[in-house]
Symmetry: C2
Subunit: 230 residues, 2 copies
């Protein structure tokens, strides 16, 4: 096992594996096993199976409690955005797992070390190994360090519709009242245009137009978000 990896895990995440072979297995890609059959190694695929389910519950539990007003459909969308391949592959890189993964030569030469699917699996297999070595709470502490701050910062809210996202952004700093006011309606019945303004605690923060009230509100929220974030 690479000592640098062990040091990094300890320094950055305060993680010390009791059973280092579990960590080694988490970092062993099947391509490496196939090229070293005489070594009787195990690849990380079973750990990934386990880690996937651990992450799913930890993220679900976090979202459930953090967003008490979000309906199931939006919770599901937000969860998908967090646990999907390209998100997890970025987290794996951030944790430097790409530096330590053991690959076969073919996989290495074809750029496997930067392949999102491989890195995503790596993140999950690491989590599976940590869970087996130290239990659910230890795996949770790691996810709390690596993933939840990003969720809290709103990194995944872009998956949401504009009104939901505006609400989450505004409520980060406490309870606020958001109100949409229809201010104009014009044009013939089949081509009606609605204009809506959005207010936070009575203060105008954006306006928008659309072919229905709903679309006008979404447009107003999008414009408010754009001006808040600019």
């Amino acid at each position: 096992m690479d000592n640098q990896m062990l040091n990094e895990l300890k320094e950055r995440y305060n993680i010390v594996f009791q059973d280092v072979t579990l960590l080694e297995q988490a970092l062993t890609h099947s391509s490496y096993v196939n090229e070293h059959r005489n070594m009787q190694l195990s690849d990380n695929e079973r750990l990934e199976f386990l880690g996937d389910a651990i992450l799913e519950l930890q993220v679900s539990d976090y979202l459930y409690r953090q967003y008490p007003e979000l309906p199931e459909g939006k919770l599901t969308r937000l969860r998908s955005a967090i646990v999907r391949e390209d998100s997890l592959s970025k987290f794996a890189k951030e944790c430097h797992f790409d530096r330590y993964v053991m690959l076969g030569k073919g996989e290495e030469n074809s750029g496997g070390r930067n392949r999102a699917a491989l890195l995503c699996d790596l993140f999950e297999s690491f989590l599976g190994a940590l869970y087996l070595d130290q239990g659910y709470e230890a795996a949770l502490r790691f996810v709390q360090q690596v993933i939840f701050p990003r969720v809290a910062a709103g990194d995944f809210l872009r998956e949401m519709d504009h009104k939901t996202r505006l609400q989450e952004v505004l409520q980060r700093s406490g309870d606020v009242t958001i109100e949409y006011r229809l201010t104009n309606e014009e044009g013939p019945a089949h081509e009606r245009i609605f204009t809506t303004e959005v207010y936070v605690d009575g203060r105008l923060i954006g306006s928008g137009q659309g072919k229905s009230k709903k679309l006008a509100e979404q447009d107003a929220a999008a414009n408010a978000l754009a001006s808040l974030e600019s």
Copy 2:
């Protein structure tokens, strides 16, 4: 809350909810909420979101430990068979959740009480409520009572290929050696037929034929299973 439900939960599963409103919410279908808007009820959909992830981890962890030799692909198939709609809807009925779910009239009249999707959601929302009320271990104890005995009895192994299934069935009562012996090969090259026998600890338990060695082994395993189970 129906007292009979509370009694049943206590008697059959030794479960006593501290916060009965969680249990009520788990049993409240959205159709009921829609027909009783004045009551300001919450439906069970957010609990189902949570319960789904709890079950996924509990089943994954169980399979990971119970089947140390099963590769990831087969673990995934087995897990899917256990947590899929028609399996969970049967577990929900077994727990009598169908008797206590609160439905709107429309849903009731269209047979919602027997609809697999609704019952599956109900099982998951119950698990979510139990988890929030009493934690992961309490939810696990319930799953250990209701689901795992069925997995251990082999109810879901029919999802596996015949060789895997035969292995799991035979190894339930301890370690055994399973051997496939090619006993015959005949016919022209493009229409070759292979005959294979399968032995457990040296005893012949089945034989089969096929157009490849692999297919002949699967056939032998299927025949061995059929005679073991008859």
